[in-house]
């Protein structure tokens, strides 16, 4: 059982590079502990900025730093980062095109029992709707590491959402297939296509295995790059599938499912079923309880896939 949450993988990569690259700056809003960034703050005090509980300030300061050549990574709970400082992300980051990487931690329903103020079920929709903003939901710590390394190489805005708890590895330490903005194909099949992102990749993968055991062949895609969506890979597998299932830890509107449906609808029309959180305050509980309740687990996904292809 993996014990390292994705947020910790982010901290590790940033610490590895911060020594060489003095322009890397990490910013937190009383969130260094929750972001697993306390080790960075201690090791690189000159490259760490604490702004207090002020998410708008966090994002605008990051934009100012980026304008002057720094490479800021601003980390705060996804719920606050994606909504409280939304306009700062839109204007100061995306519109002004500053090299700010927004790290939304404890995303989705990670803060289950704390209620809707702490759930971020709107962040994909909100951030994706901003021109020049990219949106990434890595599935495991190995992929998170590859993603952050890739993001260190470019100069453009991005929003990354990770969950709070460690998730089971999807990939292996020395064998993590990764191409920037390209979905990772976890298995190939011709009956049904399952597309997932973030913490939903694990149950999607397991659903693919369960379906195979029943003689149903599924393609499973890890669409960590929600925006820009890898339409090429999506459509390649959608073409041959009888139905497409999109799975995400997000509201039913404007997230991965909406984008998948848009692409499939326009290019190879067929049934698309979007599995997501509901359009109501999410029931409170820990992530597993919440996922099980809404069928966002391997059994639920497999059942949904079977129903979609009439089996």
């Amino acid at each position: 059982m993996n014990k390292i949450p994705n947020r910790q993988a982010i901290c590790e990569v940033l610490m590895e590079h911060a020594k060489e690259d003095r322009d890397i700056v990490v910013l937190c809003s009383d969130s260094r502990g929750s972001a697993s960034l306390a080790p960075f703050a201690s090791a690189f005090p000159e490259q760490f900025i604490e702004v207090g509980i002020a998410e708008q300030d966090l994002v605008s300061i990051s934009a100012g730093l980026a304008k002057c050549g720094k490479k800021p990574f601003a980390a705060s709970p996804a719920c606050f980062l994606s909504t409280r400082s939304y306009e700062q992300a839109k204007i100061d980051v995306a519109y002004s095109n500053t090299n700010v990487k927004l790290i939304g931690i404890s995303g989705g329903v990670s803060y289950g029992a704390l209620g809707m103020s702490h759930h971020s079920a709107q962040d994909i929709a909100a951030m994706s709707a901003i021109p020049n903003m990219r949106v990434y939901l890595p599935s495991d710590r190995h992929q998170t590491r590859k993603l952050v390394e890739a993001l260190l190489e470019d100069q453009k805005p991005a929003y990354i959402r990770v969950g709070r708890n460690p998730v089971e590895d999807i990939y292996e330490e020395d064998n993590t297939p990764f191409a920037m903005d390209k979905a990772t194909v976890l298995r190939e099949g011709s009956d049904v296509l399952i597309v997932a992102c973030g913490e939903m990749v694990r149950p999607a993968k397991e659903a693919g295995e369960a379906l195979a055991a029943e003689g149903i062949s599924a393609t499973v895609l890890d669409m960590y790059c929600v925006k820009p969506l890898d339409a090429e890979t999506l459509l390649k597998y959608a073409e041959s599938a009888k139905a497409v299932i999109a799975v995400e830890e997000h509201s039913p509107f404007g997230g991965l499912g909406s984008m998948v449906a848009q692409q499939v609808g326009a290019n190879c029309p067929k049934k698309v079923v979007c599995m997501s959180l509901p359009d109501s305050p999410v029931i409170t509980g820990n992530s597993k309880e919440v996922f099980d309740y809404y069928g966002l687990n391997a059994e639920g996904i497999a059942a949904c896939a079977k129903a979609a292809i009439g089996k």
Partner: protein, 276 residues
Amino acid sequence: MDNLKAKAYELRKHVLDIIMAGKGGHIGGDMSVMEILVTLYFDQMNISPENADDPERDLFVLSKGHSVEALYAVLAEKGFFPYEEVLEKFSRFGSPFIGHPNNKLPGIEMNSGSLGHGLPVCVGMALASRMDGKKNRVYVVMGDGELAEGSVWEGAMSGGHYKLDNLCAVVDRNRLQISGSTEDVMSQDDQVERWKSFGWHAISVPGNDIDALHAAFEEAKATKGKPTVIIANTTKGLGSPVMENKANWHHKVPTAEEYEQIMKDLDARKEALLHE
């Protein structure tokens, strides 16, 4: 008054049991805010389950919503719901007794949890009361770390501008937030001057002292032509040396041993107050 002082310690014991039962909770801020809530609910505010729908009732918003366990203990003591129900349901799957105030529960006016919302919302409530010629008062409790949110100062500006003397804000000045001392995170040690410059009447008091809080709330009521802020200088985790003034007790479930010790300390302080 004396029984209120002891009550604050009895309710701290309830908070501890609620947190143990739900396996989670923002214990430090619950303990620092207790006398503020007890003074408001048992000495100052015109609010009870009987008048919960009365448009003339006083209005309260816990802007530092993470201290909800303290609010549950106080609301249960007021009779809004049974204490046993809180113990049974807090933080459980599908329960309305979640980790922040939510107004599906009786006695809770507004949902909170995201810091920096309560004051501007209360400015709206105070404006509405004035428009309708009501005599009620509006109270909001904020954390000191919370004061870094810009929205707090937008609310402070409008409260001052509209001279809302029916509005009273309380700052739980426990000098700690998640990452440590407020002065290290984002310094703010001139709160009284700050609020005064925004047109508020500002009072700084020992914030775990019910007599001092009572006097401050009375002074606020008597202050006309401007809103009042009470800077309540409190101790985070108050009740036991195990948790007092410790940043890592912001959110924590005590171990079995810590629980025993804290209970013992709370009992001792309560007893002392009963026989004072």
